[in-house]
């Protein structure tokens, strides 16, 4: 059997990024994917003729521009197109709109609260201060605070310095941000319920916590720290669907000589004498390499594709205790035309962005209560977009595609497996909520793909369907991601590494974990580094 220099398990966008940087350094690399298609949660598929869905992730901002440029992803077909707008519809028939233009945004906020409109400037500055703290470390390996190695100490000092640069007030803000609930955080700035709800929703996306649970302010920050062409915090669509990110990465990887093998379901990482030696597939094939990288989440990596006998007991325990709860669902809908929304003009620029129907934080908190009760939210928090208003490639001209991200949706219903009836009930609660604000919506539906955490786990391999490969709470971030002592992408077995969203800097279509892991691997192999440095954030 052929021996590779490195094998990457999983063709998620991080596995592909990792492979690309290893191949760029001259290694002979194979990326193995269980599905017949690549991308993991960064995928587009045509499930209804003429319509392309972004089946999981649907908007792009976190993807590191340094990597996009360095891997020449535009040349390989990737285009990220920003969208403006966004609106939260209110029960009373009014709405709050999020205009792209600063002055219009001010006027719209002032319509709800003049004071909030003004406070928004302070809020934006404060959020930007915090993103400036994190952004420089996205393309860096987190230092190990318990290590006495010179490199770790130097990196720790760098972290320390950027914290000190914030000044005392900034430092207090930073601590607040990392520990507070998004609700408490927003209460410090705003009085309008709808404005708080509009801003606060991102604090619980993909997270099994409520808007008043400590730690959710950071999740909001996580959604702010990306950028589109230097506009920090703004989001865009990958033209052709999110799968075009994975496709472009694949072409870049193959351009460096890398090999992608689909329908290759890895059963186990082969370990001999405490060293990784390759992988065994479910179909019995064995493939060999002295470097084996896992793109899977930490639970799957350590409890599924590794033999417990090969692992220190401590790692097994940490993997078992790793927080990776499923809390999100998704609907992808083919529409026969552009739906209208009550109170909003058809051509309004607000329609280009994200729609929500939760007009207060308590409403979002109650949606969380349902999840805690073991069921889907009856009045969910949804993030709805119609990308075909911006992207002409995903549906026939004049037709549309709607992506609906749903918070909350449990991995099991009252502890039992999902039934077809449960799934229909979940779908109905979402569709009814949208239809309450869009009279023609239901009539326009041609096809709907409904995904509960069960489908997301089965198809993408994300444990419990957790979208970030593990919760983004402080105990699982930076040098704690996935767990203390293992945050530098190296596994407990020599030659075994991790490169998925379960490692620093976490979930989202970012490609940073894959690139950071490649840098550490190349370091161990004493190969020149191929991973670019991050742009200075000024």
């Amino acid at each position: 059997m052929k021996k590779y220099d490195a094998i990457v398990i999983g063709a998620g966008h991080n596995g592909l990024t990792n492979g690309a940087y290893l191949a760029k350094a001259g290694l002979d690399v194979a990326v193995l994917e269980r599905n017949s298609y690549i991308g993991g949660a960064t995928v587009s598929r045509e499930l209804y003729e003429g319509w392309t869905y972004s089946n999981c992730s649907y908007v792009c901002s976190l993807l590191r521009p340094e990597l996009v440029r360095d891997l020449e992803l535009p040349r390989h077909g990737l285009q990220v197109v920003p969208y403006g707008g966004g609106v939260t519809f209110m029960r009373n028939g009014d709405y709050y709109g999020n205009f792209y233009d600063h002055e219009r945004q001010y006027r719209e906020m002032a319509r709800h609260s003049k004071r909030d409109a003004n406070a928004y400037e302070r809020y934006t500055a404060d959020v930007m201060k915090q993103t400036r703290l994190i952004r420089p470390f996205l393309l860096k390996t987190p230092p190990d605070p318990t290590s006495l190695k010179l490199r770790d100490l130097k990196d720790l000092m760098e972290y320390g310095k950027s914290f000190m640069d914030l000044g005392e007030a900034g430092l207090i803000d930073a601590l607040k941000f990392w520990t507070k609930s998004v609700g408490d955080f927003l209460d410090e700035y705003f009085e309008s319920d709808v404005i708080k709800a509009h801003l606060g929703g991102t604090g619980v996306i993909g997270t099994a916590l409520g808007v008043y649970s400590p730690g959710t302010a950071y999740v909001l920050l996580h959604h702010y720290m990306g950028d589109v062409d230097g506009n920090v915090g703004s989001w865009g669509f990958a033209r052709g669907g999110m799968g075009s990110v994975a496709e472009a990465l694949a072409k870049s990887f193959q351009g460096f000589g890398g090999e992608i093998i689909c329908d290759a379901d890895v059963d186990q990482i082969i370990v001999r004498n405490g060293k990784a030696r390759g992988v065994a597939l479910k179909n019995g094939t064995e493939l060999y390499a002295d470097t084996v990288v896992s793109n899977l989440d930490p639970k799957r990596t350590f409890l599924d594709v590794m033999d417990e006998k090969d692992l220190p007991g401590e790692v097994i325990k940490k993997a078992q205790n790793f927080k990776i709860r499923g809390s999100s669902g998704k609907l992808n809908i083919a529409l026969d035309g552009l739906p209208s929304f009550t109170g909003l003009d058809q051509g309004s620029p607000l329609m280009l962005g994200d729609y929500h129907f939760s007009d207060s934080l308590p409403r979002i908190e109650r949606a969380y209560d349902d999840w805690k009760d073991g069921t889907w939210s009856k009045d969910p928090y949804v993030d709805v977009l119609i990308p075909t208003q911006t992207d002409p490639t995903m549906a026939p001209p004049g037709k549309h595609m709607m992506t609906v991200f749903v918070q909350y949706c449990p991995p099991k219903v009252h502890g039992n497996d999902w039934t077809a009836e449960d799934k229909a009930g979940f779908e109905k609660s979402v569709i009814d909520q949208i239809a309450a604000h869009s009279p023609d919506f239901k009539d326009l539906i041609l096809h709907c793909e409904t995904r509960t955490p069960k489908e997301i786990e089965a198809e993408v391999g994300l444990t419990e369907g957790n979208i970030f490969q593990g919760e983004l709470t402080f105990d699982q971030l930076l040098f704690n991601r996935p767990f203390p002592g293992y945050a530098q992408y190296r596994g407990p077995v020599k030659g075994m590494y991790m490169c998925g969203s379960g490692t620093h800097p976490g979930g989202g279509v970012m490609a940073a974990p894959g690139a950071n892991a490649a840098r550490e691997i190349l370091r161990d192999l004493r190969k020149p580094n191929t991973v670019p440095e991050g742009y200075a954030d000024d």
């Binding site: 521009p65 403006g84 002409p392 001209p397």
Partner: protein, 393 residues
């Protein structure tokens, strides 16, 4: 006191529609016409050009009609290219020079019919055009006001125009011209543009301008059509490496200081100069330059980092060897690009230089010396730009 009309800039035949669409209410002056700098948001407008269809009111562009038995001979005298190679219903990009071989302007020549041409130019040109016409049996007239024009650019532009009824348009080759009937009036369409993408320019009598706009936007809606202003155009043209008169070079007639004009060779436009032609304005000087060597070289630079190198000095081993004339972060190519004038012998493809970039954040100025490299070709040049039949998106 001057009357209102005396103080205001002129408006184009599309003005009622342009003004209604111009949400930012942010206007500029283009050769005496009021034109939008932006409509809604520069980024979004730029992406209309690159991802769907963008529409730009081109009417203020200087337009000159050249007719008569000597039209071809006259133009061959005027411009650096061989005009006989621009066949009927074809368009050619060109420059024209003064007797010193210095570029007066760049523009396009439309071969409309037998002995019938249109020149589109940035600078006001009638004086030079008439002067050069001495001794030729031609008629040269300015027709800027008589023709309304729209640029319709982007990957869905062909689909949008076909939806408006321009059937067969997808077969039109780059730089080709086709005529259509538009409500009884002639609509001329050329596959040309200033964005480096698939795109067309529409030319029509001013009386029909508003109707054309309305029908275009109605038919184009499913193909996601949006107007764009000057600033978005500027991003697109830098990304695709097009130089702009008045920015990347100064038209020779407008220069005051010695040595500030440029020859076509110095602007990277060698391919437009046909020295095999026996006579044309500037030929002798250009022949001399060819043997003697040029003073400057045009270069497209890939600049490290994400700070646009606006107005930067270009250094080699710490010594200044050139300046940046245009620079932008290119959102589609995701590259930091600069167009530069470098002193010879610098600027060979692959040469590594340094851009001295100054930028300001919250009143704090910072200097970075960003490594940069001379590129062989523009960073944005998609196959769909040339593909025929044109694709639907």
């Amino acid at each position: 006191m001057a009357g209102a009309d005396e103080r205001m800039l002129l408006t184009t035949p599309f003005h009622s529609r342009v003004a209604a669409a111009c949400e930012t209410n942010c206007w500029g002056n283009w050769k005496g016409y009021t034109t939008p700098n932006s409509y809604i948001d520069v980024e979004l407008e730029y992406f209309a050009i690159r991802s769907t269809t963008g529409v730009f009111d081109l009417s203020p562009m200087g337009k000159y009609r050249v007719t008569g038995p000597d039209a071809e001979a006259y133009l061959n005298r005027l411009i650096t290219r061989d005009v006989s190679k621009i066949r009927e219903k074809r368009v050619g990009y060109t420059v024209w020079c003064d007797d010193e071989g210095q570029v007066l302007d760049d523009g396009t020549i439309f071969h409309l019919g037998p002995n019938d041409y249109r020149i589109c130019a940035y600078a006001r040109a009638i004086d030079w055009l008439l002067w050069s016409a001495e001794g030729f049996d031609v008629c040269v007239e300015e027709e800027t006001q008589n023709v309304a024009a729209l640029a319709v650019q982007g990957p869905t532009s062909c689909a949008a125009l076909m939806a408006m009824g321009l059937s067969g348009l997808d077969a039109l080759k780059p730089f080709g011209i086709e005529y259509f009937d538009f409500e009884g009036e002639q609509l001329m369409v050329s596959r040309t543009g200033f964005t480096g993408d698939l795109g067309y320019e529409l030319w029509i009598a001013p009386e029909k301008a508003e109707d054309l706009w309305d029908r275009l936007f109605a038919a184009g809606a499913p193909h996601i059509i949006k107007p764009f202003g000057m600033e978005a155009l500027e991003m697109a043209r830098i990304e695709t490496g097009f130089i702009q008169a008045g920015v990347d070079f100064i038209p020779a007639e407008e220069t005051i200081r010695q040595g500030r004009s440029r020859s076509p060779f110095e602007l990277g436009l060698d391919w437009l100069v046909d020295l095999n032609k026996p006579v044309f304005n500037g030929r002798k000087a250009l022949l001399d330059e060819k043997s003697r060597g040029s003073r400057y070289r045009f270069a497209i630079l890939d600049v490290a980092g994400n700070k646009p190198a606006n107005n930067s000095f270009i250094l080699k081993n710490g010594k200044q060897v050139g300046v940046v004339t245009s620079a932008a972060w290119c959102p589609t190519a995701k590259t930091n690009v600069a167009l530069a004038q470098l002193e010879m012998p610098h600027g060979a493809i692959g040469e590594e230089l340094v851009a001295e970039i100054y930028y300001q954040r919250e009143l704090h100025w910072t200097k970075v010396n960003a490594p940069c490299k001379v590129l062989e070709s523009p960073v944005f040049d998609p196959p769909r730009r040339r593909q025929t039949p044109a694709l639907p998106y």
